[in-house]
């Protein structure tokens, strides 16, 4: 691996109150990959992302972005939170939300100027939302709201993007559009780390994968990691396989599509 590491997590342990939710997680993400983080509900996916961003304190371990602690690399990181996390009735429009991605760059006290507005509009255009710039955000559909959040991350012009379930509540067309956009970003050398829930599309959308369930199960290129054994490890046997010979041949799944999403 000659590419630099965009994100490096070492021995990360995180506990809420007294309850550990991540145990000694290691992860290396090389620059320029489109990576999915996959694991069952409550596996700690959101927690991992939040810890990387310094939103949740870690009990032990370290996080490095391009070899430096997050606090020093902040401007390299863009974040798309889970959609349910804000009040959509807030009096603000799509453009305004995207502008928020520039606040840190604008600095204290100064207001966004024409140039920032143009940047934000460009970013909205990239996600196909330019015509909705003036819409109050509650008057957008779920998928459109998700795209506004995406545009806010884009406008940060980061190197590494962390996204928490950007496909939740999004229709198939929008999902494909977002994937296309993510690929474009990857082609531009960005690194994308995406919490994803749909096992069926993992190998289609992503080239890198981390399986997480409290501890790090496996990570690496999708082809190597997306195996029946690993999935069983991550989902604790709660994955239903329809192909009888899946899991044979040293655990490789030749056809990930034959895998149903989590059963029972």
């Amino acid at each position: 691996m000659d590419r630099p590491l965009a994100l490096e997590v070492r021995d990360l342990t995180v506990a809420y109150e007294e309850k550990p939710v991540l145990w000694d997680v290691d992860l290396e993400v090389p620059e320029g990959v489109l990576m999915a983080i996959v694991g069952p509900n409550g596996a700690g996916k959101s927690t991992l992302i939040k810890t990387v961003l310094g939103l949740v304190p870690s009990a032990a371990g370290q996080v490095r972005i391009y070899g430096q602690p997050y606090a020093r690399r902040r401007e390299l990181v863009g974040y798309v939170p889970q959609r349910g996390s804000v009040d959509w009735d807030f009096p603000t429009n799509a453009l305004d939300v995207v502008l928020m991605g520039l606040y840190r760059k604008i600095g204290w006290i100064r207001r966004p100027a024409r140039r920032e507005r143009e940047l934000a509009l460009e970013s909205l255009a990239k996600v196909g939302m330019a015509e909705y710039a003036d819409r109050q955000i509650s008057q957008l559909s779920g998928g459109q709201q998700q795209r506004v959040f995406l545009a806010r991350a884009l406008v940060q012009d980061a190197q590494v993007y962390l996204m928490d379930e950007p496909f939740a509540g999004v229709d198939a067309t929008t999902e494909r559009a977002i994937v296309a956009l993510l690929r474009e970003l990857r082609a531009a050398g960005k690194t994308l780390i995406v919490v994803h829930h749909d096992l069926q599309t993992v190998s289609e959308y992503f080239d890198w994968l981390m399986l997480l369930n409290v501890r790090h199960i496996a990570s690496g290129p999708v082809a190597e990691v997306f195996t029946a054994d690993n999935l069983r490890d991550a989902y604790g046997g709660r994955v239903a396989f329809v192909t009888p010979n899946a899991g044979s041949e040293n655990g490789h799944l030749s056809e990930p599509q034959s895998l149903l999403s989590r059963g029972g």
């Binding site: 000694d24 009990a59 032990a60 370290q62 009735d89």
Partner: protein, 370 residues
């Protein structure tokens, strides 16, 4: 102690018990501030009835005030349903408006005639013993006492009769609805009782103490137990204790009785907050300290187990590595290593920590457990 004083204490205790009973459900249902809204808004009902009947006869007044209380709840829900304002704002809009009308009516048209604003907030417990209930020519005690007793009995009867419905609707409204108990009906029944209780207590202790008694003691009880019957009983007990102690202190400093009782509910809550076993702050803090060592040792085990057999193990196992990796202070690291060695989880050789078999087992258990 004079009879009047004993009667005051009795009245206060009965009112306190009654408030705590019904307040328990407010606290559990996350509607504590409905007591704030209702106990203020009912003033309007009281005043309007006063103007209509020109008397302070109890029954019509209680009915009118109860109706106002329920109206408040309904208005808040109506506002929330328009989705134009959030619930907290809706509460904050409705009751000040109703209360203001009441206050203005009083100060414009009723000043100095039996209703006065201070009494609205604080009640007139001192005068309560003078208003006697005469039945068949015999004095059987202060009116307020009998009123409080009746409402207390109604509350108790309601809770006993509908215990399982209340419990279900409080902890699992979805299931309650599925089983055919209407959560709406139970909600309004409860709000009606809150209103009735507020009105009947209002005259004696004022709106603010009604809130304090409905919320404070049940909240303290909530820190002490997980079981609903115990919580109800403890709430009542703490409420009565607040009332009695409050009265004694008011007597000592010659100050407002209701103010002093409300203060006591706060004092008792804070004491419980500090010392409650398990949920109290002190026990929480000490438990956190204890668990920190346990948790740190487990983290150490997991760390070692993840790296055992890996090429980098030689670096990861070093005692000196721990301070850097876990960001532990040296004394803390030493303490944790000692903690783990005492339990035979790890052994140390040449400054390198290795898991024992027991340690390996603990590490894997730990990861499964969480």
């Amino acid at each position: 102690m004079s009879t009047a004083q004993i009667e005051i204490i009795l009245i206060a205790s009965v009112v306190a018990a009654s408030c705590a009973l019904i307040g328990t459900f407010l606290v559990l249902r996350k509607m504590a501030l409905m007591s704030d809204a209702i106990s203020h808004a009912i003033l309007l009902g009281i005043v309007v009835m006063f103007f209509l009947t020109r008397s302070r006869a109890s029954l019509p007044m209680i009915l009118a005030a109860t109706a106002t209380g329920v109206l408040t709840v309904y208005l808040v829900e109506l506002l929330v349903q328009t989705r134009l304002v959030k619930e907290d704002a809706a509460i904050g809009l409705v009751f000040p408006a109703l209360f203001s009308i009441g206050v203005i009516l009083i100060s414009r048209y009723a000043a100095n005639i039996h209703l006065d604003i201070d009494a609205v907030l604080l009640g007139e417990l001192v005068f309560a013993p003078f208003d006697r209930l005469i039945v068949a020519g015999r004095d059987i005690g202060p009116k307020t006492l009998w009123l409080g007793l009746s409402v207390g009995v109604i509350n108790l009867a309601f809770i006993l009769l509908f215990y399982k419905e209340l419990k279900l609707a409080t902890f699992d409204p979805g299931l309650a609805a599925a089983l055919g108990f209407s959560p709406v009906l139970i909600h309004y029944a409860l709000m009606t009782l809150v209103s009735v209780t507020a009105v009947s207590s209002f005259e004696a202790v004022g709106s603010i103490l009604v809130i304090a008694l409905m919320i404070g003691p049940p909240a303290a009880a909530y820190l002490l137990t997980d079981r609903l019957p115990v919580m109800l009983a403890l709430g009542v007990l703490l409420a009565v204790v607040s009332a009695v102690l409050g009265y004694l202190i008011a007597y000592l400093v010659n100050g407002s009785i209701a103010g002093s009782m409300a203060t006591m509910t706060g004092v008792i809550f804070v004491i419980v907050l500090m010392v409650a076993p398990q949920r109290g702050l002190i026990s929480r803090w000490s438990r956190q300290r204890r668990q920190r060592a346990q948790f740190a040792a487990e983290a150490l085990l997991v760390h070692l187990s993840q790296h055992t057999g890996q090429p980098e193990f030689a670096a990861e196992c070093a005692v000196t590595h721990l301070t850097g990796h876990f960001r532990w202070s040296e004394p803390f690291a030493a303490q944790i290593v000692r903690f783990a060695r005492q339990r035979d989880w790890i052994e140390e050789s040449d400054g390198c920590l290795r898991l024992t078999r027991a340690g390996t087992r603990v590490a894997s258990q730990v990861m499964v457990r969480s």
